[in-house]
Amino acid sequence: MTTIYDSNKRRPIFIEELIGIIHYRDLIFQLVRRDIVTRYKRSILGVAWTMLNPLGLMIVLTLVFSNLFHSIHQYPAYVLSGLIAWNFFSQTTTASMSLNVWGGSLLHRIYLPRSSFTVSAIGTGLVNLVLSIPPLVIIMLIIGTPIRWTILLLPYSILLLAAFALGIGLLLSSWATSFPDIVEMYQIALIAWMYLTPIIYPQDIIPVTYRLFLVDLNPMYYLIQVFRLPVYDGILPPLHILLIATGIALITFLLGWIVFSKNADKIIYRI
């Protein structure tokens, strides 16, 4: 079968990009593998750092804050379950930008689906996220947080997080190729966003006047809740939270995909 490339007979660009990614799925696998293998290649503990990193942060936060936030039972489990979800989001969106800047030299030489690097960043994040779940369960067993069947909802929670992160990652990469400053600005925005989202502190300490912005209008609040409620609280998220989180994830993903695909042909003129 001969592959024919005809610049006049192209499918809608966001469908073409999707077909490209499906066709290049083995490349996505190789890029994920490369990121995981090379990140810790020369370290002694290797991939174990993926688990030790959030655990270390959790211990620090527990020492600092567990006396302050009396209202939270088993603070380590509370903070760790939130941090794992947040870290996935912040790491994948940051990586998708830097990978695109790195991949620029390759995109100049050979044809690749332009979203390959962003999709692979999400893949790498998913591997790290799944690896950090066993330590979370162990911590919960040690400090006596009951593990209920609702934990089985986690694959769905992770799917929503991944779709949201992919959407944001694609939007950021579309802009970061024109303005490298976005990468630095986003780092600061991420820190602010993390402290403004109830991740390391309980939701009920937020004053009522700020509730609208920090909770009701904060997409990460819903996505963190969908991840944390079935694990830490052992309950299913209320239906409205589940629906809003699903809607946010889906819309962000579609928006990111369409904006990125529309810019894909122009990206090469800029990097």
Partner: protein
């Protein structure tokens, strides 16, 4: 194999590519916003290709010559699907294998074997296809004993050989050769040219971009002279080389 020699394998109709270059480079977002608000973002248009019409037939070795900055690389990028032209029509039948810079996707910390899979998938091959050709690639690259060592321990010749072996492990329908290949030592270079000649006898279409007029004349029948984004002369290689020498030789 069925012959399509009457139908062009590569067809370009009125292809133009224009780069908008900010007159003074804008380094930051802040600067851009300020200039944008002041309506002070000035570009000048650089036409890398203007109204290019080109037909390349299946199986021919076609030469592209011209001075530096003539638009040769841009033309190759348009054919390789890397750059979508601003206007015009491109049609390419078959897979394009670029031998631009070998091993561009290699990672120094990965082993030779791992890099073969990474580079192979970058070229659009499936994991299974690479597995099937693994022995052949390793044999051609001659990196015995280093297969499972990180690439950073390789000599530059070994890296180039591995890159060439992966890039040419599959017989491409269209091969892009940018500049003369100077891979490794004398004997390996011989092996490389032998493989490329094998492709040509099997019907691979080759685009040869070079500054070496002797090489162009020995390999190609037809050629195009590119200058300032336009095809100045298209025809038998002897005529095109003569025009090139008349216009650009000191």
């Amino acid at each position: 194999m069925q012959s399509h020699s009457s139908i062009p394998i590569i067809l370009l109709q009125a292809v133009s590519v224009c780069f908008r270059i900010p007159q003074e480079p804008i380094g930051s977002f802040k600067e851009y916003v300020i200039r944008f608000l002041q309506n002070n973002v000035r570009y000048h248009d650089f036409w890398a290709l203007r109204e290019i019409n080109l037909e390349i037939l299946q199986g021919e070795t076609f030469g592209i010559i011209g001075p530096n900055g003539a638009g040769k690389s841009t033309l190759l990028k348009v054919i390789a699907r890397v750059l979508v032209p601003g206007s015009g029509h491109v049609r390419v039948r078959g897979k394009v294998a670029p031998l631009l810079e070998l091993g561009a996707g290699f990672h120094p910390e990965l082993t030779g074997r791992e890099n073969i899979f990474l580079n192979g998938t970058l070229l659009g091959h499936k994991h299974r296809e690479i597995n099937n050709r693994l022995e052949q690639i390793l044999e051609f690259a001659q990196v015995d004993g280093f297969v499972d060592s990180p690439l950073r321990t390789y000599s530059s010749g070994m890296v180039a050989r591995l890159g060439f072996a992966v890039a040419t492990a599959w017989e491409p329908e269209i091969l892009i050769l940018d500049e003369t290949l100077s891979v490794g030592d004398e004997s390996f270079r011989g092996k490389c040219s032998k493989r490329l000649e094998e492709f040509q006898t099997k019907g691979t279409t080759t685009l040869l971009v070079t500054h070496d007029m002797g090489l162009a004349q020995s390999k190609c029948k037809r050629a195009a002279l590119l200058y300032q984004g336009k095809i100045q002369h298209l025809g038998p290689v002897e005529d095109v080389v003569r025009t090139y020498r008349e216009r650009f030789s000191v």
